[in-house]
Amino acid sequence: MKDANDTPAPARATTGTRSSRRRFLKEAAGVAGGAGLLALGAGLYARQAAALPATALRPPGALAEGDFLSACVRCGLCARDCPYDTLKLARLGDAPATGTPYFEARGVPCEMCEDIPCVVACPTGALDHGLTDITQARMGLAVLIDHETCLNFLGLRCDVCYRVCPVIDKAITLEKSHNPRSDRHAMLLPTVHSDYCTGCGKCEKACVLPGEAAIKVLPLKLAQGSRAEHYRRGWEEKEAAGGSLIGEQVELPVRGMEDKAYGDTRLRPGETPLPQPEAVPAAPAGSGLDSRWKP
């Protein structure tokens, strides 16, 4: 509309190309600065928001977070094809990058569909179509993070996380150990194995504790230590070599503590084990009561 004013064209031409050039340069600088600041702000915000919170898990087959953020166009097709409404898109204000898909195990865990519809739906490759076997997914890693509240660690047989695990007896096993408090019971401790855990989160969802779960699925980066590559595991080396690498070793006695009286249980050739005294269970510490119950 400004151009429609009544300034005659020649007058405008004579007021100078110099001032119009100057005006152009000034405007261009201002515009470039403003646009640059806006884009810089977006970039910085993006970088800050790129730190995914530990409770937010990406769908199966998701690329590593950095690559994922360059590949995911936030279309929501994965979330639409999730039959259990596990996946949701982050809204502005949620912790994960706006519009990207994620799920929270304590809310709705992944049901590990065999046909992995979310991965199939992804049009860009943010979810890797190379993942065709859901047991190979690594959305995170379950960690029995709180030994103080876990019922199995208290000596009970809760076992719920173990029972609901879709990869039961591989991803979570119950490892028997001595219960030093009662001194006569076993504790069966849920133990996660990273070779098999897909990070689906069903254990975290099912944990019976009222609020926070004792077992949680964490991003692999948080859940795992780096492997100590310089430490060579003797038993692995031995197995690989098919025998000891340094030959049979001479067993030296510990001076002053030799012999069976000091607990040497090794048997010489031809020797039979000594008769063991019948085991008497220890009385519970502190109480004067002893029910004489034996396992």
Binding site: V31, G36, A39, A49, S70, V73, R91, L92, A121, T124
Partner: protein, 321 residues
């Protein structure tokens, strides 16, 4: 407002000054109202001349298109009847037709990721469509943000808000460059963190969160600070589609510009008023066709012109009639 009122009996402003050859101006038109010091009501003359329906034809078609596209996406999540899945950045129609936003794919490429074939095919289809028919058809016929900024522009006209400072016209192209640069440097779709366009559409389908604030911010910015500030000056997505629409087949032509009575109503309603003058007033070009890539082909100028100066035509039809 304490504006002096013209005598009620006077139906038109007679253009007293040198323009005696010009036809008389309706007092509701932008220029007519300015001469009388009244608040302008662009389009009233067109309603009187052509009837309400014909004076709103393109506007109604456009709203139908915008809401129709939105409805196609919404009947899935609302009624479980899936026509289109996904959202405007990438979608799948009836399980077979992929469509993707080439602007987002360009960011993804800049960030160093080559998308799968499905997204590339979808992006190619959309790219080819807008290349052929005019990139900014997206802005005026599809983009949900257009409803917001049109509402702001309408309210601005009705409230008679004048002034405000819009950023320079080239801002959006700079921003487009910086958006791609930010994607390349951060290795992520940095702009998509706060792109109000994709965010509004996604929010309508998947839930808003704080996105209301961003949409409200754009509305208030357009209403109070910068006239047509977002769509016309800042939006890098619109800039992308402007570049795409440079050689489109469809365009608006001021074919009957001889009849123009300089009422300025088309300038008042046009979201990119700078594109009209070369065609209407033969400034820098002979033919009456609007070739500027910024033209959104919204057709609102056709609606509000009481003299039926404009029409939609192809880029090869440069005749006057």
């Amino acid at each position: 407002m304490s504006t002096p009122r013209a005598p009620a009996a006077d139906p038109v402003v007679s253009a007293q000054s040198a323009a005696s050859a010009r036809p008389a101006l309706p007092r509701s038109s932008v220029r007519g109202a300015a001469q009388l010091g009244l608040a302008a009501r662009p389009g009233v003359e067109a309603v009187a001349a052509k009837g309400w329906l014909r004076a709103h034809k393109w506007l109604l078609l456009r709203r139908l298109s915008q809401l129709g596209v939105l409805a196609l996406f919404l009947v899935g999540p609302w009624f479980g009847c899936w026509v289109v899945k996904g959202n405007l950045t990438s979608s799948l129609t009836l399980g077979v037709l992929p469509l993707s936003d080439p602007f987002v794919l360009a960011q993804s490429l800049a960030a160093g990721h080559l998308p799968y074939r499905q997204a590339l095919i979808g992006g190619g289809i959309v790219f080819a469509f807008y290349l052929a028919f005019g990139g900014r058809l997206f802005c005026s016929w599809v983009c949900p943000m257009n409803l917001v900024t049109d509402a702001a522009a309408w309210l601005r006209r009705r409230l008679g808000l004048k002034g405000g400072k819009a950023p320079a016209a080239a801002s959006r192209y700079w921003l487009l460059g910086f958006v791609l640069l930010a994607a390349a440097l951060s290795g992520s779709l940095a702009w998509e963190w706060l792109n109000p366009v994709s965010m509004l559409h996604r929010a309508l389908l998947f839930g808003f969160g704080l996105a209301w604030g961003l949409v409200g911010g754009v509305f208030l910015y357009d209403l109070l600070i910068a006239p047509r500030g977002w769509c016309g000056h800042l939006c890098p997505q619109g800039a992308f589609y402007s570049l795409l629409g440079r050689a489109s087949l469809l365009g608006v032509s001021a074919a009957r510009r001889r009849d123009c009575n300089d009422c300025m109503d088309c300038f008042a309603v046009c979201p990119e008023p700078q594109v009209i003058r070369p065609a209407l007033k033969a400034a820098g070009q002979d033919h009456p066709l609007i070739l500027d890539g910024d033209c959104t082909r919204c057709g609102r100028c056709i609606d509000v012109c009481g003299k039926s100066v404009f029409r939609i035509t192809t880029r090869f039809n440069r005749s006057e009639s």
